[in-house]
């Protein structure tokens, strides 16, 4: 797989606030990377740095280009949609299609029209007259009709109903994706895109805490449903997170073998959402009595724990 994007030591701060801290990522052709993080983790800033839309420190190479220079050349092979619907209010849908067709050499007008034909969006309507969901559909139609090598989607389906969201992701896989291209997606609805992701990177407070293929991540983490009398043994194996529900506890373990976990209860493969919440929200710290308490934890500590 050829590397399309390389990020080394990416740092970004607004005044004294550090929003990105030593980000290192490599994205290759064929990858569909989910960049997952809580609100304010730095996902959008990371993507904007990637596209040269904001200043940054560090080295980024996108398709052989430095985004700080010749950004317009780089954008011939990379398309971007951001979380805040950003189409201008005054433009008509047909004008937006004509404009993108005029300035982007790889835009397929018919593809955009076909996409919009499946929606209720009138071509002669002004963006200001469309609902938020419709505006997103127009933006997606424009972006998906561009035959680029890298597609960057920052919360692409925000404001869309579930039917449209599913249709969009189906279109993404069927019509856009192939082994020569890469897609980077950020979203809060991880469960909806889990099936299309090949790789995932979790970001917390501007730091990447986990970055690896989805298959590897799923074989590494285990979710075990533990009854009350088995909890002491479960704590002894240092679970990453605990979730109590209806008298049962489910523990998330990192790197513990199935053999060790077999006696505790039912073992299942966690979803990405399980791993994400386990890593992000309430990490466990241990006391001598094998009970666990929750406490805030820094991303660097998570990384250290995981690598150990």
């Amino acid at each position: 797989m050829s590397s399309l994007i390389t990020i080394n030591g990416l740092n970004k701060s607004y005044g004294k606030k550090q929003v990105l801290n030593d980000i290192n990522l490599t994205i290759s052709a064929g990858q569909v990377l989910g960049l997952i993080g809580p609100n304010g983790a730095g996902k959008s800033t990371c993507l904007q740095a990637l596209l040269g839309l904001t200043s940054f420190e560090g080295d980024i190479e996108v398709l052989g280009h430095n985004p700080k220079h010749k950004r317009h050349l780089m954008l011939q092979d990379i398309a971007y949609i951001n979380d805040t619907v950003a189409l201008p209010k005054w433009i008509r849908v047909d004008q937006a299609i004509e404009y993108v067709g005029g300035v982007h050499p790889k835009f397929n007008r018919q593809k955009a029209l076909d996409f919009l034909a499946k929606t209720n969006v009138p071509l002669n309507a002004k963006v200001s007259k469309l609902s938020k969901g419709m505006v997103t559909q127009v933006h997606l139609a424009l972006i998906l009709a561009i035959d680029v090598k890298v597609l960057v989607l920052d919360e692409p389906t925000l404001g869309l109903d579930i039917l449209t969201r599913r249709e969009f992701y189906n279109n993404l896989v069927e019509e856009f994706y192939d082994q020569e291209k890469a897609v980077i997606i950020t979203t809060h609805q991880i469960e909806e895109i889990e099936h299309i992701l090949t790789d995932v990177a979790f970001i917390k407070q501007g730091e990447i805490v986990v970055s690896e293929p989805v298959e590897q991540l799923k074989s590494r983490f285990k979710l075990v449903a533990v009854t009350h009398d088995q909890q002491a043994q479960a704590y002894a194996l240092k679970p990453l997170a605990e979730n109590k529900l209806m008298g049962m506890s489910s523990f998330l373990f990192d790197g513990v073998s199935s053999e060790k976990l077999a006696g505790l209860g039912h073992i299942s493969t966690p979803s990405l959402a399980d791993v994400f919440t386990g890593l992000m929200q309430k990490p466990l710290t241990y006391t001598s009595s094998h009970s666990a308490t929750v406490s805030p934890i820094e991303p660097s500590v998570i990384k250290k724990e995981l690598s150990a």
Partner: protein
């Protein structure tokens, strides 16, 4: 930068500013056509009854016949330049509005990310906006002024033809004396020197449009007003004894201080050459600095992303 990209960028500006580039000049044209017609139709003392009176037609034919006095030429030139002046003043106001908002509006509505996610460089974007603002916006107004003058010329030609039935006049003499096309040509030629002369204003507004967090017009004019006020105050308390800034601003826009200015003779060629005389290399270089500043703000300011 290819042709399709330039064409589409121009179209985009036209779509965005259609009211300013199309409707405002067209409404002005319509008003100048409709107002006299309404006067003619509804007012007894209007212009047209007087125009069609025997006394006026006599003067009109006398004017055409007395070629040496140059009356028709002077009247036509005055008439054409008055109309063009009105349209050019309206164009100037439209240009002020255009340059103040052209880089600010897409930051205000958040669409800047959409525009900047497409393969159009910031330099291309700024160049297109600048060229459109200095050339296309006034051209839209001049086009309507031209339509108006040509409409009036056709009407007066018809009047001359009508008069020739009663009086001994030559329609060709009227057409050649009025020099309509020549005058219109000069007015169109004025676009370039006017653009160069006023480039410091336009580029300063472009910079304000690119840099201001809010109220770009205020951001553009407040520093100048403050500077002039400080200079006035320093003069008032006798700390300094000159109004350098005030004189510089007034001097730059005052046509009277150009060599060759004659307040008692009005000639379109003279106006054109006077405007050319106002163009200075220093002002153009200063404009380049402002334009570079607008580009840098567009590219590097965090608010622009």
């Amino acid at each position: 930068m290819n042709t399709a990209m330039i064409t589409m960028s121009v179209k985009r500006e036209y779509w965005e500013h259609k009211v300013m580039m199309f409707w405002v000049p067209l409404v002005m044209f319509a008003l100048f056509v409709i107002a006299p017609l309404l006067t003619w139709l509804f007012a007894d003392s209007g212009v047209f009854p007087k125009v069609l009176s025997e006394q006026f037609l006599q003067h009109f034919s006398d004017g055409i016949n007395s070629e040496r006095s140059g009356m028709i030429t002077a009247v036509a030139e005055g008439f054409i330049s008055s109309f063009f002046l009105l349209f050019m003043m309206a164009a100037f106001l439209a240009q002020l509005s255009y340059f103040t908002n052209c880089l600010f509006s897409d930051r205000k509505d958040g669409s800047i990310i959409f525009w900047r996610s497409l393969p159009v460089g910031d330099h291309t974007n700024i160049a297109i906006k600048l060229l459109l603002g200095v050339i296309l916006v006034p051209a839209c107004f001049l086009l309507c002024a031209t339509m108006l003058v040509l409409t009036a010329s056709v009407l007066f030609s018809m009047l001359a033809l009508f008069s020739s039935l009663v009086f001994d006049i030559s329609i060709w003499s009227f057409l050649t004396q009025s020099e309509v096309l020549g005058s219109i040509g000069i007015m169109w030629l004025m676009i370039v020197p006017l653009a160069l002369w006023l480039l410091p204003i336009y580029s300063w507004l472009l910079l304000a449009s690119s840099a201001a967090k809010k109220a770009p017009f205020l951001c553009a004019f407040a520093p100048i007003v403050i500077l002039l006020a400080v200079e006035y105050w320093l003069n008032y308390i006798e700390l300094i004894d000159s109004s350098y800034l005030f004189n510089m601003f007034v001097g730059y826009f005052d046509l009277r201080n150009v060599v060759g200015f004659d307040p008692y003779s009005f000639d379109l060629w003279n106006v054109l050459s006077l405007t050319m005389g106002k163009v200075s290399i220093g002002a153009i270089l200063l404009s380049m600095v402002f334009i570079a500043g607008a580009w840098a703000c567009r590219k590097y300011l965090p608010d622009n992303n």
